[in-house]
C-alpha cells in the first residue's frame, strides 16, 4: 500500500557555531516544538518519532535516542534512529515518510541534529583517527577533476560561495550571515584544500531540524498549506573500487532518475522550481547539477555563471543559503528536505522563490556514495501542471 504523505509542520533552530544556551535535548526540542507549532499539533498527537544524526562520537553520546526519548515526546511510542553519513537528514525524513505512506502511522515527527561544538568534527570526519584530511581533503581532488573534465573556470566556485552566503542573509536561521560578501573576498580568503578557499567551505554548526509528516486527512486539517511528497529515492554504492567515478557517482545518477520517475518528472530543469542540493563545498553545486542530470556534461558550471541558480534565476539552487551557510551535519540533509517543503508551501519568508510549486531536495554522504532525494509539490498534481 502507498498513500499520499504531506509535510504540515516544519521547524529549525537558529544554527550557530556554538549553542551553549541549550542542552542536546534542548536543541532537538527547540526544532521539534517549532514543527509542532507550525502544524498546530501537540506532542500527544504524534504516533512515532524518527531521529537522525551523523556519528555518535561527534558529541560523545552513544545512541542518543535513548536519552532524548523524553525530550522528543517518544515515551510509550516507537522511536527509531537512522544514520547514513551526511545523507542521514534526508534518509531520516524518508523513513518517516514511508511510515505514513505505508499506513503504519498517521502523524510522524522526524528530527535531525548535530551539536558539533560538543566535539571535534574534523577528527570525527577522519573516521575518528588523528591526522585525517577532513571531508574537504577527500573531496578536493574530485572537484579538481570535475573542473578539468568540464573545462570550468576557477571563478565558478567563488560565485557559488557568494550566492549562497547572500541567500543565507535572507534566512534568519542560517549560521553565516554575510550579505555583502564579494567575489574578491572569497578569492583572497586562505586556501584550505585546493581549489577550496576558506569562504568556499561549509562552517561547523550546532543546529536541528524537524518536520511533521501526515496523511491526506491530516493535511486537510492542517492550518497552513501542506507540501506533498511526490517521490522518494535512496541509493548507495561502495566508496572506493577500481573504475568508480567519484565525480559523477552512479548512485547519484540513479537516485536522481528514480526520484524523477517517481514524481513524473521528465525534464527536471523545466519542471522543478527550486532545488536544495547538499553543497558543503562550492564546487558541488555544478557537480550535482550535472551528477543528477539537471544539466548536461559541462553545462552545470555554465548555469552558475549565467546566474540561473541565483534566487531570482530560472533554476534557483539553495535559496536558504545551503550547507555552505549552515552545517549541523546530521541536520544538514533534513534542512534541504525541509527547505523545499517550505518553498512549495510558500512559507520561506524572505528567501521565498515566487510561485514555487515543485521542489527537489538532495542529501549525500560518505565518500559521495550515499544519496537520499525527494520531490515535493504544493499539490499532488504539481508536476503535471508543468507539462
Amino acid at each position: 500500500m502507498s498513500r499520499p504523505a504531506a509535510i504540515v509542520g516544519i521547524g529549525q533552530t537558529k544554527h550557530k557555531k556554538r549553542r551553549d544556551d541549550v542542552s542536546l535535548p534542548g536543541l532537538v526540542r527547540e526544532a521539534a516544538q517549532r514543527a509542532l507549532d507550525d502544524a498546530e499539533l501537540g506532542w500527544t498527537d504524534i504516533d512515532a518519532v524518527v531521529l537522525g544524526k551523523a556519528p555518535d562520537p561527534f558529541e560523545g553520546v552513544m545512541m542518543p535516542e535513548l536519552s532524548m526519548a523524553d525530550a522528543l515526546g517518544a515515551v510509550g511510542k516507537p522511536i527509531m534512529r537512522v544514520h547514513t553519513a551526511g545523507s542521514v537528514g534526508g534518509s531520516t525524513a524518508l523513513v518517516a515518510t514511508h511510515l505514513v505512506q505505508t499506513g503504519i502511522h498517521d502523524r510522524v515527527l522526524t528530527v535531525a541534529y548535530e551539536k558539533q561544538a560538543e566535539g571535534n568534527a574534523q577528527w570525527g570526519l577522519a573516521g575518528g583517527r588523528s591526522g585525517g584530511m577532513g571531508a574537504g581533503g577527500i573531496f578536493a581532488p574530485w572537484m579538481r577533476s570535475y573542473m578539468a573534465r568540464a573545462g570550468a573556470p576557477e571563478h565558478i566556485g567563488w560565485m557559488v560561495a557568494v550566492k549562497d552566503r547572500r541567500n543565507a542573509a535572507k534566512n534568519p536561521y542560517a549560521h553565516l550571515q554575510m550579505p555583502n560578501l564579494t567575489i574578491d573576498e572569497v578569492k583572497d580568503s586562505p586556501m584550505l584544500w585546493d581549489p577550496i578557499h576558506w569562504h568556499e567551505s561549509c562552517p561547523s554548526s550546532d543546529g536541528a531540524c524537524a518536520m511533521v509528516i501526515t496523511t491526506e486527512d491530516g493535511a486537510a486539517r492542517s492550518p497552513h498549506p501542506p507540501a506533498w511528497v511526490l517521490g522518494t529515492a535512496m541509493r548507495s554504492e561502495l566508496g572506493t573500487f577500481p573504475g568508480r567515478d567519484p565525480v559523477r557517482p552512479q548512485a547519484g545518477v540513479e537516485c536522481a532518475h528514480l526520484v524523477y520517475e517517481a514524481a513524473g518528472i521528465r525534464d527536471p530543469r523545466q519542471q522543478v522550481d527550486i532545488a536544495e542540493l547538499y553543497v558543503p563545498f562550492s564546487w558541488y553545486e555544478p557537480m550535482w547539477l550535472e551528477g543528477h542530470d539537471i544539466a548536461g556534461p559541462g553545462e552545470g558550471w555554465r548555469m552558475v555563471e549565467s546566474g540561473e541558480t541565483q534566487i531570482d534565476g530560472s533554476f534557483p539552487v539553495n535559496p536558504s543559503g545551503g550547507v555552505l551557510s549552515s552545517n549541523p551535519i546530521g541536520a544538514s540533509g533534513m534542512l534541504r528536505f525541509a527547505e523545499t517543503a517550505l518553498q512549495v508551501r510558500g512559507r520561506a519568508g524572505e528567501h521565498q522563490v515566487p510561485d514555487a510549486t515543485v521542489g527537489l531536495a538532495q542529501a549525500y554522504g560518505g565518500a559521495a556514495q550515499y544519496f537520499a532525494m525527494w520531490v515535493v509539490g504544493s499539490t499532488l498534481d504539481a508536476v503535471d501542471q508543468k507539462r
Binding site: 516507537p78 534512529r81 537512522v82 552512479q250
Partner: protein, 350 residues
C-alpha cells in the same frame, strides 16, 4: 498491513574475540542468508543494516559494512544505529510499499576491541548519568536488586534461568557459552556486582546475523516454508532509571500488545534477556506461561553479539518454525539499559 515473510536467515558463531573484521565475518552470514532464501543478491530491493560506531571505536564504521553487502551496482539501502531487529523493522516497513518484493536486514557488532564498562556509560544521559560511570552490569544489578526486594524473583530462580539457557545452548552451534554446572554450584560463585554473579551476565561477543524478507507472493514462489511476520512493534520508556519502575517492562507489554501476541498461543519465545533476571521480567510483561519454551537457543546469556543479538532472536524464532515445526513464536529485542526500549515480533508458520 501486508503479510511479509522471513525466507532466509543466518548467523555467525558468537565469539569472544573475532580475528576477522566486522565486514569480513558479516560477508558469509549475508551470503548464507541470501542462499537459504533461494534468491539472488540482485533480487534484493532494499537493504537495511544495524550497527554501532561506538563498538568499533570509529566514526562511520558502518560504511565498511557496505563491502559485505556488495553495493555495486548501487543499491537502495539504509542504516540504523540500532540492533539489527530495528533494521528488520525498517525493511518490513519498506516492503509494505509493494513496489519491491525482497529485502535484506542485518546486524553486526564487534565488542571485543573496547571495554564495555567504559563505552556504555556514554549511552546514558550525558549530563546526569554518564559522569556516574554506571556500566551495564551496575545498571542491571540495580534492576535485579529492585526485583529481589519486591519479591518477584530469587537468586535461585536467576541461577535456574542461567542453567537452562546454557544447557539449551549446548545444542546451538552459534552459541558462545554452552553447558553449565548445576544451580547449587553456580550459587556458590562470588558476586560480580551484587546481586549478580557471573552466570547472570551475558558473555562479551563478536558476531553478526542476517534475515531475508519477502512479500507474500514472492515468499510462496521461492520458499517451501515461509515464516510469516504477523505483527511487529517497538516502544520506548523514559530514560532516567528513577522515572521507571525497573521491576516491570511497560514498553515490552505495549509492543507485545501492538504486535498482537494475544491473537493466539505462543509456543516459543526468543527473548533478548541480557541478564538472567530480565527473562522473568519479560515473561511477565508478555504474559508467557510455563508452557512457553523460552530461549531454546540459549538466548543472550549464551551469546550476546550486541547489535546482532536482537535480530538473531528473530532468526532463532523463525528457525523454530521452519525447522522444528513450531506454529507460532515470538522474538524480542531490546536497546538501552534495563530494557529501556523493546521490540516484539510475532511469527507464524503456514
Amino acid at each position: 498491513m501486508d503479510d511479509i515473510a522471513i525466507i532466509g536467515y543466518a548467523q555467525s558463531p558468537s565469539q569472544r574475540r573475532a580475528e576477522l573484521t566486522e565486514p569480513q565475518f558479516l560477508f558469509p552470514v549475508i551470503s548464507e542468508a541470501i542462499e537459504r532464501a533461494n534468491v539472488e543478491r540482485r533480487d534484493i530491493g532494499f537493504t537495511c543494516a544495524g550497527s554501532c560506531d561506538y563498538l568499533s571505536g570509529q566514526t562511520f564504521a558502518f560504511v565498511m559494512n557496505l563491502e559485505a553487502v556488495g553495493a555495486w551496482p548501487p543499491i537502495s539501502e539504509s542504516h540504523v544505529e540500532m540492533d539489527g531487529a530495528w533494521a528488520l523493522y525498517e525493511a518490513w516497513v519498506r516492503l509494505q510499499h509493494g513496489d519491491i518484493d525482497v529485502a535484506l536486514a542485518f546486524g553486526s557488532g564487534k565488542s571485543s576491541p573496547g571495554d564495555p564498562s567504559e563505552i556504555y556509560p556514554l549511552q546514558l544521559d550525558p549530563y546526569t548519568l554518564t559522569p556516574l560511570g554506571a556500566d551495564p552490569v551496575s545498571m542491571a544489578a540495580l534492576q535485579a536488586r529492585a526485583m529481589l526486594d519486591k519479591g518477584t524473583i530469587t537468586e535461585q530462580e536467576m541461577a535456574e534461568i542461567a542453567v537452562r539457557s546454557r544447557t539449551n545452548a549446548a545444542n546451538n552451534p552459534y552459541a558462545q557459552v554452552r553447558g553449565s554446572g548445576d544451580v547449587d554450584t553456580l550459587l556458590r560463585e562470588p558476586y560480580v556486582t551484587a546481586p549478580l554473579r557471573r552466570h547472570d551476565l551475558p558473555p562479551i561477543s563478536d558476531g553478526a546475523s542476517a534475515v531475508v524478507l519477502a512479500t507474500a507472493d514472492k515468499a510462496r514462489a521461492v520458499c517451501e516454508r515461509p515464516v510469516w511476520i504477523r505483527g511487529i512493534d517497538h516502544r520506548i520508556e523514559p530514560h532516567q532509571p528513577g522515572m521507571r519502575d525497573l521491576t516491570e517492562s511497560i514498553s515490552t507489554r505495549q509492543a507485545g500488545r501492538h504486535a498482537g501476541i494475544d491473537h493466539g498461543p505462543v509456543e516459543v519465545a526468543e527473548l533478548s534477556a541480557t541478564f538472567s533476571h530480565q527473562e522473568k521480567l519479560l515473561r511477565e510483561a508478555l504474559g508467557l506461561g510455563d508452557e512457553v519454551q523460552v530461549n531454546p537457543s540459549g538466548g543472550a546469556l549464551a551469546a550476546n553479539p550486541v547489535m546482532a543479538v536482537g535480530l538473531a532472536r528473530i532468526a532463532e524464532a523463525a528457525r523454530a518454525i521452519s525447522e522444528r515445526g513450531v506454529s507460532r513464536a515470538l522474538a524480542h529485542a531490546t536497546s538501552g539499559q534495563c530494557l529501556q526500549q523493546n521490540l516484539v515480533c510475532v511469527l507464524e508458520g503456514a
